[in-house]
Chain length 401, copies 2
């Protein structure tokens, strides 16, 4: 075990409980930690601060749950170089250095498994990596961050952002520093992992548009509903070869979309092929117990043989798609001048499909659902509107069905 | 290829189209058919009527898509005996003889794959068979027959049973003889396959309660909706060791249940573990193209090695569960005497939770949602009601959340 935090401890506890379902006993040769004094000692889990103890203790599989990029990257590379199979749940590492690691695994002929990195409770990554025809897809949409989905779901039910975040932390979905969750980075990293697999392209997370949920208000959720949808923290991508349209961030989702009904910490993903066939997977996205189950199943699979997914074969070219937008325009007066708002946007080439009117912080506000256009265009239009009508304007993407 | 019907032809056409996603070319050594004159000849698909030509033609994998029990069973056993990997999509064969085939595959040390047998478009059976902890489940619910789901969805939208069935046949979901679909046998067979895998029990389909959708009327669907749900063709099972509660048939499903929103030919399954974790998989359940994709992916996997799921280790003891029921009581008068209906049922020990009133065929009818009880009890109560009040009564299970 590399790392013995929440997830590492849950893995150790599950392995040591010897679940009846496991045909083989899983024992832990040792756990690498930075500060043994800071860890509660578990019988059966020898601690060390020296990576050499891990590599030379004869482990059949190395499990990396340190998190972050370093030293996780160099430890995983060393394990693969020593031909020791690796299981990891580290999204950041896979998003940033996945192709290097897959290449190393391929060269060493040993498995590298990371089923827990995306929708931790639902095994599908390896299944699809093994199945070339089921993986011949053209688009995906998903809710990949449980903390954000939980917070927006609670805000839908009337909670405010801070209370919902505090409750997510109390329940163990959100980290003490929740910025990677609420700013969309966690979902972005998972999207990067999926895109590498489904497009065979090496994708940099930095190339993908990402926004967080922190600017979404309770009023936005209410008026999203009046417009026939719900605001969800999504990822979306469509592709042809190495050309990818993608974004990660909160979006207005039509109520009939399969992702619209996923609430609380539940994650889900919808995969579509060119013929219109759609598969959905939903389940728990995170949590120490769920992650420990998936990691230990990966350990069992890693002992079966040398399979690892292929590294990417090309470099992705990523753009942000044209979508419809939800524009929130908050004026100075108690009642918004919807006609004028709509005219200003239309004059900038942004057509309006539907409008919901209300107030936000005592000021007349309109929520306008636009026709599809680029982010540049809607942001230019929103700036023009803000300057001319004294509005403040906020834009949010939509997820098309 | 054993068999060259709709599915067999789709597999041949897909293989011969050489999809770019396949790293290896798949060629067809020969296809076993009963009457070569009855088949449209495809270039690249030599036909034979002699099984010996198939076995001795040096195939790397044998694909069984004849359907039915015989000669499919003996041909698959012969292939395994000759240590040739087998891929099949044959639910009936797997439901009735799956344990015998799995045992033969295990003894021969060759793969037996049947991913297309349950929710043909969604690969999950093998994934879960490989993952002992993710497979430590305690219940499942599913919509496993696309024809029945399509028919009830169309009836919801105002179509009548015959027109919906004819349309399903026109679109290729339903067989020319749809009785296995509409009488619930197809879903029952799939449930049997799932139960063998998840409970490690050999389950006979004959031990499981099964009902068809043919007695469900449009009025039932309307009043199911008034009671806050929808009637869906489901399977449900919960278990502890080899003790299983299970049924297959149409059931009233609360609107908030994840299966309630699956309409048309879409299939789906919800798997729950003892800790309340739920995974869902949804996607197309049948169709030649989708089945061909899954079968060919299985062929690719079968060439990778000798993995096959374990045969069952025990014999299942199956009961029908106590659930709530939807009782349709159609009286003689234009207005139903709901109070009397409820009193009669209550006097037989069947409590009533909610009622919706209307008419069916011009006669006053009540739809009563009961408290949980056994089938024996609700059927005895319905008979008592029918005899005393001159009703005809029909009962339908509910799917609990």
């Amino acid at each position: 075990l590399l790392g013995l935090g929440h997830v590492g401890s849950a893995i150790a506890a599950l392995a040591l409980a010897r679940p009846a379902a496991l045909e083989r006993t899983v024992s832990i040769t040792c756990a690498l930690v930075r500060d043994p004094g800071a860890r509660v000692r578990q019988p059966g889990v020898p601690l060390t601060t020296n990576p050499r103890d891990v590599f030379e203790g004869g482990p059949e599989v190395i499990v990396e749950v340190i998190g972050g990029l370093d030293p996780a990257r160099s430890l995983v590379l060393e394990a693969l170089d020593r031909r020791i199979p690796v299981v990891t749940a580290n999204k950041s590492l896979l998003a940033r250095h996945g192709n290097e690691l897959l290449t190393a695994a391929r060269q060493a002929g040993v498995p590298l498994r990371y089923e827990a990195s995306v929708i931790a409770g639902v095994p599908f990554l390896d299944t699809l990596a093994r199945r070339p025809l089921a993986s011949s897809l053209s688009s995906l949409s998903g809710i990949l961050n449980g903390t954000s989905n939980y917070i927006l779901s609670e805000m839908e039910r009337g909670s405010d952002y801070r209370a919902a975040l505090a409750e997510a932390q109390r329940r163990g979905f959100a980290e003490p520093d929740p910025s990677k969750d609420v700013e969309g980075i966690d979902a972005l990293e998972k999207l990067t992992i999926l895109l590498r697999q489904f497009t065979a392209s090496d994708v940099s997370p930095d190339a993908i548009e990402v926004t967080g949920i922190t600017r979404v208000s309770r009023e936005d959720l209410v008026h999203a509903r009046e417009l026939g949808g719900v605001i969800k923290p999504v990822v979306h991508a469509s592709w042809s070869g190495h050309e990818i349209d993608a974004f990660a961030g909160p979006a207005w989702v039509p109520r009939t979309h399969p992702l619209a009904s996923l609430s609380g910490p539940t994650n889900g993903m919808r995969l579509c092929d060119g013929a219109g066939t759609a598969l959905c997977f939903t389940g728990p996205g995170a949590g120490p117990r769920v992650t420990a189950i998936t990691v230990l199943d990966d350990v069992i699979e890693a002992t079966r043989g040398g399979w690892a997914p292929s590294p990417a074969t090309g470099r992705a070219r990523v753009s942000a798609p044209a979508t419809r937008w939800l524009v929130r325009a908050r004026g100075r007066e108690p009642r918004p001048d919807v006609t004028s708002f709509g005219d200003r946007l239309a004059s900038c080439g942004v057509g309006i499909e539907r409008v919901s009117v209300g107030d936000a912080c005592g000021r007349g506000t309109a929520w306008l659902l636009t026709h599809p256009c680029s982010r540049d265009r809607v942001e230019a239009a929103a700036s023009t509107l803000a300057a001319a009508a004294g509005c403040d304007a906020f834009v949010l993407r939509t997820l098309e069905p």
